[in-house]
């Protein structure tokens, strides 16, 4: 699917990107019609100019604060001109609060680097509790209207958002690539199309939804009406910055909530570009983005008694802490905390040497998608022993053919790990795997790239062979590393697949529908991909069993994670009950 979409995206590329400025002007006009009256008044460009002036006066840590697009300021490795888009980032970004970009109250900023070569690409607000408070003020103010805005209006705005993002797909893709290090072709073929799909899905699904009526008796009725929670806090990870933000924002907004969202400090910039493009489609304060560090900005948000819900994607220890805060405030949570997903290959896949077998080989090599920085990375491969040698020969060859280079190049299949520290963690697991006695079938080390990428974060696609009791089989490495083991039969495969603390995703590959069904039901995971992997359409629910989290994301069922049910219980009877 990814590759097909890429071709489409490529075709459009030439015409579109240069028109960015025009597009946003057009949007400013149309949006006034969409968003009601006063709501969308600030044109992002103006707001930006203003903001940067303010910054000029107060900022202590930043000396160079050009408001111009950096374009010429970055090294050749970060050049985006071959994609026919300008360098996407301003030199610095404040917080997006109340419909405009504002300076952080402390005046502090931090450097945002690109993992491609660890060069500084822009500066971001280093926010604290005061900025979070300001964002919460704006959100609470906005909720008074937004919570009551009719569904058609909300839906139309979300469709407009999708349109604008689609028109700027290549620019946003370049931004995501620079900020996160993922290959541009994945950004263009997967991340951004999914973002757009998600906005449209929730725009559509709320139009078709309705509450319910229960007839308790012929004079007594219970009307169930979904109502928004209010102002919600959302903390987004660094692996899919725009997509994860959209997974959280789209259902929250569709359900009538306002949001204060904190992007990860490792990838804080692309969402600011997104807000530049779509911010004025929304009434001020409906979406507020506060950038900064987890301890300084994330914690005050997660522990605030002014949020009605907290949604978090990350790891287990922080997940527990978020639950603690939520317990103190008695508010609901959704948590997505990762996995160690098994990808199970049955012997019948090799009954024929055909397109399906080729698909299975690709399914194995999917551990490289997004450099393995995916909560559902198929990082444990279980291969039936009868086909083990022949199948492994194929997947090793395919893995060795994975092109690792500058992620901004269209041919690149695997890019840079999102941060130096993440690369260090992966290295620690490569070391541990070897110490545990796992056999390195390919890769196993840092990838040394040249041509300006010497300082970037690159890891070789790695296949370990070992057994499921090893740590490399038990803990999410979050890198392009798969650990492979053999199984004898279906029961053995199921036993290994479920021998894990987590249960987020899984893959089953077989030509036998009965095996696929039994395995699909038997594996304790929120999503079991059968003869496919890494598919994330908006109407396919995502979430974990066991320690992988609480709740679901994507799909219309997500709306109920952002809503209350109002039961209007009405009696149409004239007579009293007779108790008193």
């Amino acid at each position: 699917m990814a590759i097909k979409r890429k071709k489409v995206a490529k075709k459009k590329t030439n015409k579109k990107k240069t028109k960015l400025v025009k597009v946003s002007k057009k949007i400013s006009k149309t949006k006034k019609k969409v968003a009601k009256k006063k709501s969308a008044t600030n044109k992002p460009s103006k707001v930006f100019k203003k903001k940067n002036k303010i910054n000029n006066k107060k900022n202590r840590e930043v000396t160079n604060m050009s408001t111009e697009t950096v374009k010429s300021g970055v090294s050749a490795s970060l050049d985006t001109s071959h994609l026919k888009v300008p360098f996407p980032f301003k030199s610095k970004y404040g917080n997006y609060i109340g419909g405009k970009f504002v300076e952080p109250k402390s005046g502090k900023y931090f450097d945002n680097v690109s993992p491609i070569n660890n060069e500084v690409i822009c500066q971001m607000a280093r926010s604290d509790a005061k900025d979070v408070d300001a964002a919460l003020d704006a959100a609470h103010e906005a909720f008074k209207e937004w919570g009551k805005t009719d569904i058609t209006t909300r839906s139309n705005i979300m469709n407009k958002i999708a349109d604008v993002l689609e028109k700027n797909l290549d620019l946003l893709a370049a931004a995501e690539c620079l900020d996160n290090g993922k290959p541009i072709r994945e950004c263009m073929a997967a991340d951004l199309p999914l973002v757009i799909d998600h906005w449209r899905y929730f725009a559509g699904v709320i139009r078709a939804e309705e509450g319910s009526v229960a007839e308790i008796s012929n004079s007594q009725y219970s009307y169930n009406i979904p109502e928004p929670l209010g102002v919600v806090g959302q903390i987004v990870p660094w692996n899919f910055p725009l997509l994860m933000a959209t997974w959280k924002l789209a259902p929250a907004l569709a359900a009538g909530n306002c949001s204060v969202l904190k992007p990860a400090e490792q990838t804080p910039a692309s969402i600011m570009l997104m807000m530049e493009l779509i911010g004025d489609l929304l009434p001020p304060g409906v979406v507020n983005i506060v950038s900064g560090f987890g301890l300084e900005a994330g914690k005050p948000l997660a522990s605030s008694d002014r949020i009605a819900k907290i949604a978090f994607t990350g790891e287990t220890t922080t997940g527990r802490l978020i639950m603690q805060y939520a317990a103190q405030n008695l508010i609901p949570i959704t948590l997505e905390l990762g996995g160690k997903s098994p990808n199970v290959f049955f012997e019948d896949i090799m009954d024929k040497d055909d397109a399906f077998l080729d698909k299975c080989v690709e399914g194995f090599v999917m551990f490289n998608l997004n450099q393995g920085e995916v909560c559902t990375c198929p990082s444990r491969a279980l291969v039936q022993e009868s086909i083990y040698d022949k199948f492994m020969e194929k997947v090793i060859a395919r893995t060795k053919a994975v092109v690792q280079d500058n992620p901004l190049k269209m041919e690149t299949m695997i890019g840079a790990q999102a941060s130096v520290e993440q690369m260090e963690k992966i290295k620690s697991y490569l070391d541990l795997g070897k110490k545990e006695g796992a056999k390195v079938l390919c890769g196993g080390d840092v990838a040394k790239l040249n041509s300006g990428l010497e300082n970037g974060n690159y890891i070789q696609p790695t296949i370990f062979e070992g057994d499921n009791s090893m740590r490399i089989f038990q803990e999410e490495i979050f890198g392009p590393v798969v650990s492979v083991t053999k199984f004898k039969d279906e029961a053995h495969a199921l036993e290994i697949a479920n021998d894990t603390l987590y249960g987020l995703g899984a893959g089953v590959w077989t030509r036998n529908g009965n095996i696929a069904y039994r395995m699909g039901r038997g594996i304790q995971a929120g999503i079991v991909w059968t003869n496919c992997y890494h598919a994330y359409p908006a109407h396919s629910p995502f979430g974990g069993y066991k320690q992988s989290g609480v709740g679901r994301e994507t799909h219309k069922m997500m709306l109920n994670h952002y809503r209350q049910n109002k039961n209007l219980h009405v009696s149409y009877a004239e007579n009293k009950l007779g108790f008193f």
């Binding site: 987890g294 994607t313 790891e315 990762g338 909560c375 545990e436 009791s469």
Partner: protein, 126 residues
């Protein structure tokens, strides 16, 4: 096979590198001495050792006290301990932004868990 035996006879230990001990001392100066570590798992910052004020993180009988580093108790959840217990943990310090709400976050340094296979105290690996 040897590994399965190891799981039964070995127990995880935790230690810290000199640079990690230095960071712990610095955090104590800012946040007081009453701190704790909790070993994380899962995605994103998973596998990171998180450091918190002791009264802010609730540990319970589903956590295992692995040991102390720099005078600070180090915990891991019971289930994760079971999966990890054939390894010793060495807490290191590297450059970085730090994990989420952990006290190293934003200092420019962060803790990183490295691991070694447990060495049996009175027996040999076979």
């Amino acid at each position: 096979m040897a590994r399965i035996k190891l799981r039964a006879i070995l127990n995880m230990k935790v230690s810290a590198t000199p640079t990690a001990l230095e960071l712990i001392e610095d955090l104590k100066k800012t946040h007081g001495k009453d701190l704790l570590f909790h070993q994380s798992g899962g995605c994103c910052d998973g596998s990171a050792p998180m450091c918190y004020p002791a009264n802010e993180y609730m540990v319970g009988d589903k956590d295992v006290l692995v040991g102390e580093i720099g005078g600070i108790p180090f915990y891991i959840s019971k289930t994760q301990h079971e999966a990890w217990k054939n390894t010793d943990l060495i807490i290191d310090c590297i450059k970085g932004m730090g994990g989420m709400f952990s006290l190293d976050n934003g200092t420019g340094r962060r803790f990183l868990t490295r691991s070694e296979i447990c060495v049996p105290e009175n027996s040999t690996i076979n």
